[in-house]
């Protein structure tokens, strides 16, 4: 019995022990930032030895819900300003725009069905996936479709842009509306001009400020450019 307790305690302490003695910065970031922020974190850790960046990616609306439920985090980066608005009161400093993205039609590699405009997404029998109406990319896509006067009946509403890209990459769907930054990497497609989006970032704690500054700085911006954010 005593031995069992000891094992349990050890296991529990193992769960909470820090990987290093240094500080830890928890960053919640929009799913579209998965690759770019992975690199931001590595660069930040290199610039701040002993600091451990913990990343969590999901649809922005899901991250905001997590923050509202009290998830411990130091930085929040969302794919549009409106979504960030819901946690404005919880920010240490006001959020700022740190990058731009653009919508894109994503398809199988090489775009075998030659889908080049929103109108093409209405072809009968075509399986299109979109993000849900509360997801930033879903909202932006709905706006673009309305503006173009195009009605698309999607087969699924995903809860993050990665879900849209994933379904197309798996071949289960023919096309989806995601971001320019998703093109390449197993999917083809075309950018949708005139659909610029703003990504915003803000610190949830004092400890998060340095990471925000890093992303806004020259090195952070260069990494975003490399991943085709504007």
């Amino acid at each position: 019995m005593r031995r069992l307790l000891l094992v349990l305690l050890l296991a529990l302490s193992g769960c909470s022990a820090h990987a290093s003695d240094g500080t830890r910065v928890t960053v919640l970031a929009a799913a579209s930032l998965t690759k770019a922020f992975g690199e931001e974190a590595t660069a930040y850790e290199r610039a701040h030895p002993g600091t451990d960046v913990v990343l969590s990616f999901a649809g922005s609306q899901s991250l905001v819900a997590q923050v509202q439920q009290g998830a411990p985090a130091d930085v929040l980066a969302t794919a549009d300003p409106a979504t960030m608005g819901a946690v404005r009161g919880g920010l240490e400093d006001p959020s700022v725009v740190f990058a731009h993205n653009e919508l894109a039609i994503v398809t199988a590699p090489g775009n075998p069905l030659h889908l080049t405009s929103l109108q093409d997404l209405t072809r009968s029998g075509l399986k299109v996936v979109l993000a849900g109406p509360s997801v930033p990319v879903g909202k932006a896509a709905a706006k673009a479709l309305t503006r173009a006067g195009v009605r698309v009946t999607p087969v699924s509403l995903e809860d993050a842009v990665t879900g849209v890209v994933g379904k197309v990459r798996l071949g289960e769907a023919d096309a989806g509306i995601a971001y320019v930054t998703d093109l390449g990497g197993g999917v083809g497609g075309v950018p949708l001009g005139g659909t610029r989006t703003d990504l915003v970032i803000g610190p949830l704690t004092g400890a998060g400020r340095a990471f925000v500054q890093f992303v806004l700085g020259a090195e952070g911006q260069a990494i975003l450019k490399k991943h085709r954010f504007q």
């Binding site: 019995m1 649809g59 609306q61 899901s62 905001v64 819900a65 399986k127 996936v129 849900g132 509360s134 999607p154 087969v155 699924s156 509403l157 995903e158 809860d159 379904k167 798996l170 071949g171 289960e172 769907a173």
Partner: protein, 256 residues
Amino acid sequence: MRTRPPLALVLPAALAALLVLLPLAGLLTRTPWARILELLGKEQVRQALWLSVRCALSATVLALLLGVPLAWVLARLPFPGRRLLRGLVTVPLVLPPVVGGVALLLAFGRRGVLGPLLEDAGAVPAFTTYGVVLAETFVAMPFLVLTVEGALRSLPTTPEDVASSLGAGPLRVFRTVTLPSVLPALAAGTALTSARALGEFGATITFAGSYPGRTQTVPIAIYALLQDDPPAAYALSAVLLLVSVSIILGLRGRLR
């Protein structure tokens, strides 16, 4: 004189009970009961409830039509590899549902093993209500197979032998002798299967996606609503909790 129960057992037992009861109580206290009808009347919620009822019912019927014969074959028909098959068909009981979803995609998805065949037939189940039923049946049917097969195996075969010696054909023996004697197990298995089908989330969202009215069942709607309309998510969760409690109450005695 009764000795005092050992604290070393009572204390963890109390903690265990609290671990289960506290979240349930938390859900019930935070459920906006005063607004529940209004919340359950929202279009997305209503669609999810109706879809879930239809899908769980279809999955249960499918599980009965296919699972009971399977249970009979596993219990009564000696054939090589029977023990292996018996083990394999119950794998979904312990398989993480999301893995079930991936497996279903790889079998029945467009790029799956049977994909081209299904595509030619115009019957790709991914993103369709029929895909939801398939996922729910995959996950839930083993409960029925396991329960009925267990009951069949513990049943003495004498009445069946007598019936066939009196000239009843094997199908008639199954219908008039075997099936009635496993009725309690059949009822319990059906209840467990429908409960599991109703609660299915991981395999369904992986295999069939999420679209209101078509593939967004109650658990998937709860997951989506928790992000934009938490009170509606609480209300739907309370509904599923009450359904689960009634199933457990209905099963009391049968599972003892």
